[in-house]
């Protein structure tokens, strides 16, 4: 019996060779005409999130809030008579995993509700346009504008920076001739924000002292000291939430008692239980292109109630991520609803440009998606921390667009 083994093996090899020359199953499956992700009863949308890496908290929050919106939409009868289903994959903020997960999910979905992370979006952009895919983002870089495949919700980082500087001047915290310190992250967030602050300080007769940091920097003492040495009367901050805590405590330790305005991602509710809390409550403000979870409008309160019902006393780390994900999921329903007759990827891309006045009271500004090269809004809010407000933030100023931001020309990349 053992002697016959060579023959068995060669037979197997032959069989395989024959099988190869035969017709492949992949060939038949890829030639069908239906649009991926759409059946008579469902529409599937993908989500590529960081659910286990460095930004897992944001990823899980966005995922939950997106699901809230999907449940709501489905309970009201769905879109185009179909229920929305989410296909969620974790990329752990690892480009390799993200690229693989995209390859797996893309053939199953009509579009991507959310792809998280600038490096990951960058790695996927060529594939996204080759597949005619519409993709929602959790990023506000103006360099993402101009591509009809990407949705940037609300104002971009440069416009938010302009609105923040304008607010500081309007509030009398900065006067003509004063210096603004800008501590910003290397990469698309910080550098685009710097474009805004450079423009605003020039227009308003201010001086700018900028310091670049890396997302991994833990000790920012030297940057804070450099800004202090330049005589800054206010600080604009583009950093991670941890770095915000470091900057305000180091500013306090250095005796630099000036307002610090951070971008939308620079705050997390748990910071208010750290040693940085007193300094945050005293000095910190946040500029945001989307709504506030503690706002008093019915739409926002409905969302907050949903979170409370699911998680009880455990408040979300980032109220902004909850609002953004919920808001943009409803935006997606609106886009798909505009192309029920042509539920294809190309149809969805065309329907995106038809959305010109989408808004949900308090959750976000009125969005105009007709021109991919322009931001969908130029408005932003100012928030400040408050321990008794839901998710740790309260409103200082509602959606407003500064005159400077209105005339600012965006250079799409």
């Amino acid at each position: 019996m053992k002697r016959s083994r060579p023959r068995v093996v060669s037979a197997a090899a032959l069989a395989l060779a024959l099988a190869v020359t035969g017709c492949s199953s992949k060939a038949t499956s890829s030639s069908k005409n239906t649009t991926p992700g759409v059946t008579d009863t469902t529409i599937k949308l993908g989500m590529l999130m960081d659910l286990s890496g460095a930004f897992a908290t944001s990823g899980k929050t966005s995922n939950t809030a997106g699901q809230f919106a999907v449940d709501e939409i489905n309970a009201a009868g769905g879109v185009c008579g179909r229920k929305i289903e989410l296909v969620v994959r974790d990329h752990a903020y690892d480009v390799q995993k993200a690229v693989t997960a995209y390859d797996e999910v893309a053939p199953q979905v009509l579009g991507f509700l959310n792809v998280y992370g600038s490096a990951i979006t960058g790695a996927l952009r060529d594939k996204i346009s080759a597949n005619d895919m519409l993709v929602g983002l959790t990023a506000f870089a103006p360099t993402l504008l101009g591509d009809p495949h990407l949705i940037v919700v609300g104002s971009t980082y440069d416009i938010q920076a302009i609105n923040a500087v304008d607010w500081l001047v309007r509030e009398g915290k900065l006067k003509k001739g004063d210096t603004l310190g800008h501590i910003y992250l290397q990469g698309e967030i910080g550098e685009n924000s710097l474009k805004g602050s450079t423009y605003a300080t020039q227009q308003l007769g201010l001086k700018l002292a900028s310091q670049q940091i890396k997302p991994t920097d833990a000790d920012l003492t030297s940057q804070v000291n450099a800004v202090k040495a330049a005589g800054a009367k206010a600080i604009l901050l583009d950093s991670t939430a941890k770095q915000t805590a470091a900057v305000v405590s180091e500013a306090q330790a250095a005796g630099l008692d000036v307002p610090v305005v951070g971008n939308v991602a620079s705050f997390a509710a748990s910071l208010l239980s750290t040693a940085a809390a007193p300094a945050l409550l005293k000095q910190y403000y946040r500029v945001s292109g989307i709504g506030l979870l503690s706002a008093q409008t019915p739409a926002v309160q409905k969302l907050a109630e949903k979170w409370k019902a699911k998680f009880g006393a455990q408040q979300p780390e980032s109220g902004g991520a909850v609002v953004l994900s919920y808001f943009s999921t409803h935006l997606w329903a609106k886009i798909i609803g505009g192309t029920c007759g042509d539920l294809t990827r190309k149809g969805v891309l065309a329907a995106r440009a038809k959305v010109t006045g989408f808004s949900m009271d308090g959750l976000g500004p009125a969005l105009d998606l007709s021109d991919p090269a322009q931001p969908s809004s130029r408005e932003s809010q100012i928030h400040r921390p408050n321990k008794s407000a839901y998710a740790g933030m309260e409103m200082v100023e509602d959606f407003k667009v500064s005159d400077l931001a209105k005339q600012y020309q965006i250079k799409a990349g």
């Binding site: 286990s52 890496g53 460095a54 930004f55 897992a56 908290t57 944001s58 290397q186 670049q212 940091i213 890396k214 991994t216 920097d217 833990a218 000790d219 003492t221 030297s222 940057q223 000291n225 450099a226 040495a229 991670t240 939430a241 941890k242 805590a245 470091a246 405590s249 180091e250 306090q252 330790a253 250095a254 005796g255 997390a268 748990s270 910071l271 239980s273 750290t274 040693a275 940085a276 007193p278 780390e317």
Partner: protein, 296 residues
């Protein structure tokens, strides 16, 4: 001038914390010839325990608990894992600690995520003015407490039986075993010490003006690698010197980032490795390390 002095004091304080981390690393290497790649996660685990127990039992008790947990982790690593590997297979033992590090880091990433846990130390949030200098209280306390700790450790190594046994077993393991020294006890103690020292350093690293315990502390602790190499991997004095050099150079370079802009952004993080490579080109066994001899 004031600014330079401030930077120097901050650098020495950071260097002393690095020295503690490096000491634990070097003690383990001296006693067992194992490069402990899990050292940074020992540190993070210890200080994580402190921060998560602190709201319910207070900082003092939590600190003791954190020290105990990290010490036990060191003991368990030696007893349950490393003692089962062939003592001469140093590579296998080092790789084993890599595996352990992956598991510990995964668990801590799962628990900590993006969050920052407050340490709740009584010195948090306080600033001291010493003449023209404005310093966080943590810095002052570190500069006082760490040398005391190191002094105590030195006394332990020179005056106690364990210290003698340890030094003997390092000099000649077989000879030490012959005269009745229990090598296993020596290595177990070394691993416990490593856990304790790492946690103590972690408490310093997570104190004000750092906002608290977060995953990034683990990457700070990696600076112990170049520190240990600069000093000489098997020298305790070298560990302290290496830690101080890395701390001071790092803070000075980061503090003068603007005038050193040709080095690029964030040069403070990598300057330790530059110093390390220069030192190695000059002395291949570090500043105080013993030369290896080979017999044919």
């Amino acid at each position: 001038m004031t600014r330079l002095l401030e930077l120097l004091v901050n650098g020495v304080s950071l260097g002393l914390l690095y020295a503690l981390i490096t000491l634990g690393f070097v003690i383990v290497f001296k006693a067992t010839r194992v490069v402990n790649f899990a050292h940074a996660s020992f540190l993070l685990l210890g200080v994580y325990v402190v921060a998560s127990a602190q709201p319910s039992i207070g900082f003092g008790a939590a600190a003791l608990l954190g020290l105990a947990v990290a010490g036990l982790l060191g003991l368990a690593t030696e007893r349950l894992l490393l003692s089962r590997v062939d003592r001469r297979n140093h590579h296998a033992m080092a790789i084993l600690t890599i595996g352990l590090n992956v598991v510990l880091t995964a668990e801590l990433t799962r628990r900590l995520g993006e969050s920052v846990l407050p340490l709740g130390a009584p010195w948090d949030g306080h600033v001291v003015k010493l003449g023209p200098l404005t310093l966080p209280l943590t810095v002052v306390l570190t500069i006082v407490a760490v040398p005391v700790l190191i002094g105590g450790l030195t006394a332990l190594l020179t005056l106690t039986g364990w210290g003698l046994a340890m030094r003997a077993s390092i000099a000649d393991a077989e000879g030490a075993a012959l005269v009745g020294i229990r090598l296993r006890r020596v290595s177990a103690t070394a691993w416990v010490l490593a856990g304790l020292l790492a946690t103590a350093a972690g408490i310093g690293l997570a104190s004000f003006p750092s906002p608290g315990v977060s995953l990034s502390i683990e990457s700070v602790a990696i600076a112990a690698f170049p520190a240990a190499i600069i000093g000489g991997f098997d020298s305790l004095g070298g560990a302290i010197a290496g830690g101080l050099i890395v701390g001071v150079v790092q803070v000075l370079v980061a503090g003068n980032q603007d005038s050193l802009s040709f080095l690029g952004l964030g040069a403070g993080d990598v300057v330790a490795y530059l110093v390390m490579i220069v030192v190695l080109l000059w002395r291949p066994s570090g500043l105080f390390g013993s030369k290896e001899f080979s017999r044919v």
